[in-house]
Amino acid sequence: MSHASTSLLSRLLPSLPGPSARVYDRVAWAWCAGALITVLCTFRHYGVTWDEAWHLEYGRRISKWYTSGFSDTDALTYRINYLYGGGYDLLGAIFRAIALPMERFTAIHLLGGLVGVLGLVGTWKLGRALAGPRAGLLALVMLTLHPVWWGHMFNNPKDSPFAVAYAWSLYFMVAAIAELPRPSRATLAKLAAAIGLALSVRIAGLILLCFLALVLALFAAHAGWLRRSWAALAAHVRRALTIGAGVTAGAWAVMLIGWPWAQLDPLTRPFVALRRMSSFDAHQRKMPFADEYLWNYEIGWEYLPHYFGFQTPELVLIMLAIGTAWGVAALLRRGGRAELVRPALALLLVGMAIFVPPIYAVYKGSPLYDGYRHFLFVVPPMVALAAVTIEALVGRLRRRWARGIAWAVTMALLVDLLVQMVHLHPQEVVYFNRFIGGVAGAIGRYDTDYYGNTNPEAMKALQAHLWRTERATYLDSVYYYTGCLSGKAMRLHVPGNFRTFKQRQGEQYSDFSVGYLRDRCDRRFPDGRPIFEVVRDGGVLNVVKDLRALPVPYRTEKGARKKLPAPRPAKEPGVPAADKEASG
């Protein structure tokens, strides 16, 4: 990375003269190293989510597709996964083979953490390319301290890697814009690879190609308009078409590597998948939303604004709002100037990358659930724009002391976020900001632990409780539990004498219930004795209940929501009701 490179937006938005780019870059590298070390120290803390087992299996099947010489076709029909590119799943299968004898879920969590750090680097580069080294460093720090992003890095096998590829695609697109009208082949090759990797996780990455097409079209139109010449316009359009076709072809090739189903009809099937995914309705479920408990198809446009509003750190949210307004004003006032066309396009790209996907989802009426995890990919550009805004705002301050105060406030808010993340660990995904009162304010009103990340903590606490209170029984007992989540995923965190109720011979009932918040699992077995709660920021995220004192019908899955009949009040002989009232 050149230290002398100037930022793309420096002439469009106000910015500070950087005293020393090298210092900021060195701090950024040190920060990345710190993030990497944190990943290596903590990746074992995260739970197995209900999505992971399917992706591990899909990755295994894709690797078999190759190792069997394309004769093992299990990957072509596997659940609904065949509609997704399996680029990350294939990488996971290779990584697991390398990481042996590490347990497979543990290995994939390590890979997730490493890929997440790559996303941090991509966002740093994006911020740096937009507004210089200090904005890049700010973007890096703000994304690292974004609890939802950090929490998803480890055990989200789809949305997190897609977001990483999306961030890198945006960075390379900004780099290509800076080089227009003739981006170097190296930049275009990297852009194609990044978009291809995004496509190989989710076909929704096609939106990146749409952004590229729009940017190239606008540049060509602007160049033609400047020269007032049809010939010039035609020459620029030809160039734009060449660039667009080359990047698309490269991205398509990269996408196909991890997607066996699409390999068999590469020109049609990705679009079939896109059509199917656009009307994806496999997950119809009820969930808490704004104090109500609704079906996900009953919620309208307000779903994403609510979640982004309450699950984005306050600093990012406020700066994003200011930055959006500022950016729109800057584009309208100065975006059409000949010398500002590249920064204007870069700013427009970042704005589109943030706002177009959610708006499109609302327009299409896509069913939404699980907070904004499906839109995790808009977080890096959001953070980058927030960082650029901070840089620009501070640049407006004339007085040195005012700038000092601004940086101090920013640092204080970031340190506050760090403290909150430490308190939430490893449940960072349940973060809610102070506008709603933190996690405690969101419980029951919004989805929090929709991924079951709290289950390991709950299971380990159950094990420790039983070991402490009934040691002799513990050693000679097999306990059966229920928990609204794959038994295999939960078993990873406890020894073999903890088994799911499905493994009980004869009638299937449970001794313990481990209930996270999805589908109100915590409210099952209302008469069970609570023995442990996973609590974060004052909010209860998981409840472990001892069911052993209940009659068997109230310990089965059928009886999970039943309440024991209330005991009949004992009659008090000889005191008429009227007399009781009279006596007060």
Partner: protein, 308 residues
């Protein structure tokens, strides 16, 4: 105060920027960059030639460009630059009214512009060439990583701490095969424990040597389907008799500091097969015994005390 050399280099950079703006613009004829390119060459020559004298034949790049700069670019690049330059000089000298074909394609002009930019940056002292050894070192490192991943020296089965002797009968007799396992935690279900092995009616004997730094009250737990036993130094600590269902049994042993032989016998008759052995040495719930506390016996199977 800017020196004459620095001033000339600044002029060369400005001319080069103008040339680049023309060459990358698809609506401009590449020949229109010739004027700027030759200007950049002349300014560069003023900056690097002794006394600031521009050579009469500027096309002879190899003749006037200092050896230091030629070395940083490489002989091939210098030759390429020298090959295209006469056409550019001729284009600049062409009178405006005279139509004449331009000898260079757009790609050639772009390549020439790019190389000239590199040359100016080197003359300025920027963009120092990457030493050859970094590329080679990067290649060697990549090859080493690939080799390491392929060989995986950290995952050598014989370094695993449990020596498992797998018998093709359920009473620890008959045909056997040995392998080393990292821990005793297997859930074979209805599958066989290894290829070409029966899924039912097999048994396994695991041996390992447990290192204790201090006298310890150890608790062992065995969870299995079917039965299993845990011995320490020949003493039966856990007897887990079960057939057809998962059962957990525990036992306690007071162990002196030193090395102890731990043996686990497991038998599978029919149905699901799984076995897990755990231990607690510190009053915490039983966990898999850390590999750092164990080492595998190296001798043949069946000896009395393989940890001696």
């Amino acid at each position: 105060m800017m020196s004459e050399t620095q001033g000339a280099l600044s002029v060369a950079e400005a001319a080069h920027r103008a040339a680049r703006a023309v060459t990358v613009d698809p609506s401009c004829e590449p020949r229109s960059a010739a004027h700027h390119l030759v200007g950049a060459w002349e300014a560069l020559a003023r900056a690097v030639c002794p006394g600031g004298h521009v050579p009469e034949d500027i096309s002879d790049v190899g003749g006037w460009l200092p050896a230091r700069l030629q070395a940083t670019l490489g002989p091939r690049a210098v030759t390429e630059l020298g090959r295209a330059l006469p056409a550019l000089v001729a284009e600049r000298a062409r009178p405006g009214w005279e139509s004449r074909a331009f000898a260079l394609s757009r790609g050639e002009v772009e390549a020439h512009t790019w190389r000239l930019g590199e040359l100016i940056a080197r003359a300025r002292g920027e963009g120092s060439p990457r030493p050859n050894w970094t590329g080679k070192a990067a290649l060697a490192a990549a090859a080493a990583v690939v080799l390491l991943i392929a060989v995986r020296p950290w995952y050598t089965l014989t370094l695993q701490p449990w020596r498992g002797t797998y018998y093709a009968r359920s009473d620890h007799s008959g045909k056997w095969q040995m392998r080393y396992d990292r821990e005793i935690d297997f859930d074979w279900g209805r599958d066989a424990p290894m290829p070409d092995w029966p899924a039912d009616n097999f048994s396994v004997r695991w041996d390992s040597c447990l290192h204790l730094d201090a006298p310890t009250r150890a608790v062992f737990q065995s969870i299995s389907d079917d039965g299993s036993r845990v011995y320490v130094d020949g003493d039966l600590i856990v007897r887990n008799r079960t057939k057809g269902k998962t059962q957990s049994r525990g036992g306690e042993a007071r162990l002196a500091a030193g090395v102890h032989h731990v043996r686990v016998d497991y038998s599978e008759h029919s149905g699901d097969a799984h076995v897990q052995v755990l231990a607690s040495f510190d009053d915490e719930p039983p966990r898999p015994i850390p590999a750092s506390m164990l080492h595998a016996p190296r001798g043949p199977a069946g000896e009395d005390d393989p940890c001696e």
